[in-house]
């Protein structure tokens, strides 16, 4: 261990968790502490991946569980209840990012707790500077406003990218429509379901329902014909006109995920910026992969810096957009892309 520390210092690696993890991965011990009985092996590599958070109480930890998109099966839930009964303090907490957390776990019990949860494929989530479990709203699987399948996205994205090392925490959130219930606009990477509405005059009866349906004022009814007069600049891509029109005169010209990057909350909140529009599921995945890869590379030697703060630095947005274009092509890039910007809060 002493060796490693010196090496780290010499190399001056600002993102040192990689090195640290590689070293610790090999150590497996039988936890034997005076006055406590041995409780099997503790796998330090597993601990390092995060998800075990020290509490105020002596020896007690909160164990954060992986729940992509906030979904939970009955099988897993039953196993979690069993684990709480045996190793927890009789209490669960729902984290602000949709994870179930088992409270008051004595660290001597980490080994058997993890083994028990594995019986129902329940895994422990992460914390620290890495890709976290993605959040998602109900999306189109049951929410009537949903345009995209956010739940499926959360699951596939979690499988592909969970736990990857990044300079700082990397949080993703997926909303099924512009209501953005899951706050994708303040995530490091957010996807928001969107529809570009297209109108066909021939089938339109001039009933004016679409003007009632549009809460953005993007559709006014023509005073004589009742037919829609569309103001594209006000459209928020919500799909309401398409869903409300009795004659299907409004249809979805384009639909998919709008990509937002660089947001976060916290002490110095940053509002994300829109980078691309109407991505398919596959394009969205490619964009996520490209964003993480760019973040890892551009962040080299820059220490704990969030994606948004990196993108705000001179020249970085341009470099990021090049990488994004390589992954998804130029057609779907948003028009007039801004940098993420700080939200001013009063102290």
């Amino acid at each position: 261990m002493g060796d490693t520390v010196t090496k780290k210092k010499k190399l001056k690696i600002s993102v040192d968790h990689n090195l640290e993890e590689r070293t610790i991965k090999r150590i497996e011990v039988n936890a034997e502490v005076s006055g406590k009985k041995p409780v099997g092996k503790i796998n330090f590599a597993e601990l390092r991946a995060g998800g075990f958070i020290k509490q105020r109480q002596k020896d007690k930890f909160t164990v954060r569980l992986k729940c992509p998109g906030g979904s939970m099966t009955l099988d897993r839930l039953k196993k979690i209840v069993e684990a709480v009964e045996q190793f927890g303090g009789g209490q669960l907490h729902l984290s602000t990012r949709q994870s179930m957390e088992i409270l008051h776990v004595d660290y001597h019990n980490f080994g058997p707790l993890v083994e028990m949860l594995k019986e129902s494929s329940q895994e422990v989530a992460s914390c620290g500077p890495r890709v976290r479990v993605p959040n998602a709203c109900g999306g189109c699987s049951y929410n009537p406003n949903g345009i995209t399948d956010t739940q499926k996205m959360a699951e596939t994205v979690n499988e592909k990218f969970f736990g990857m090392r990044t300079n700082h925490k990397f949080k993703m959130s997926f909303s099924g429509c512009p209501h953005d219930c899951i706050h994708a606009a303040s995530a490091d990477l957010g996807l928001i379901g969107a529809v570009w509405p297209v109108w066909e005059e021939a089938s339109c009866t001039g009933c004016t329902i679409c003007a009632s349906a549009c809460t953005e004022g993007a559709i006014e009814s023509h005073p004589e014909t009742g037919k829609p007069v569309f103001d594209a600049d006000k459209c928020l891509y919500c799909d309401d006109c398409v869903r409300a029109c009795p004659t299907s005169s409004w249809t979805a010209g384009k639909s998919g995920h709008n990509l937002r990057v660089g947001g976060h909350h916290g002490r110095h909140p940053v509002n994300s910026t829109i980078a691309a529009r109407f991505l398919s599921d596959e394009e969205a995945e490619a964009a996520i992969g490209a964003t993480i890869a760019w973040y890892q590379k551009a962040g080299e030697g820059k220490g704990r810096i969030r994606l948004g703060n990196l993108l705000m630095q001179e020249g970085q947005m341009e470099s990021y957009l090049e990488a994004l274009t390589e992954a998804i092509g130029p057609e779907k890039l948003a028009e007039d892309i801004q940098r993420p910007h700080k939200i001013t809060i009063r102290r």
């Binding site: 009537p144 329902i209 009632s212 009742g226 309401d240 409300a244 029109c245 009795p246």
Partner: protein, 80 residues
């Protein structure tokens, strides 16, 4: 759009969601497929939500008229 005769009529212009939806659905429950419900509802959110919800559930809005007082008169064909 050819005018269809209504098989049932409700006035829900005093209601908002979720009552507007529940009353519309209860009225539709009394009809056979293909029969027509005529209803009056408020402009704004009620007509917006009713239109979206009925379309989502497979019914067809066959006629829409704006009343002098600003309310909407809809004719809905059950599972149309």
């Amino acid at each position: 759009m050819a005018e269809l005769a209504a098989d049932k009529f409700i006035d829900i212009s005093g209601e908002v969601c979720p009552m507007s939806f529940v009353l519309t659905k209860l009225a539709l429950d009394e009809l056979e497929d293909g029969q027509v419900l005529e209803l009056i509802c408020q402009a704004g959110d009620p007509v917006r939500n009713i239109s979206i919800q009925l379309k989502d559930e497979g019914h067809m809005i066959v006629s829409v008229k704006k009343e002098a007082d600003g309310n909407f008169r809809l004719k809905i064909k059950k599972n149309g």
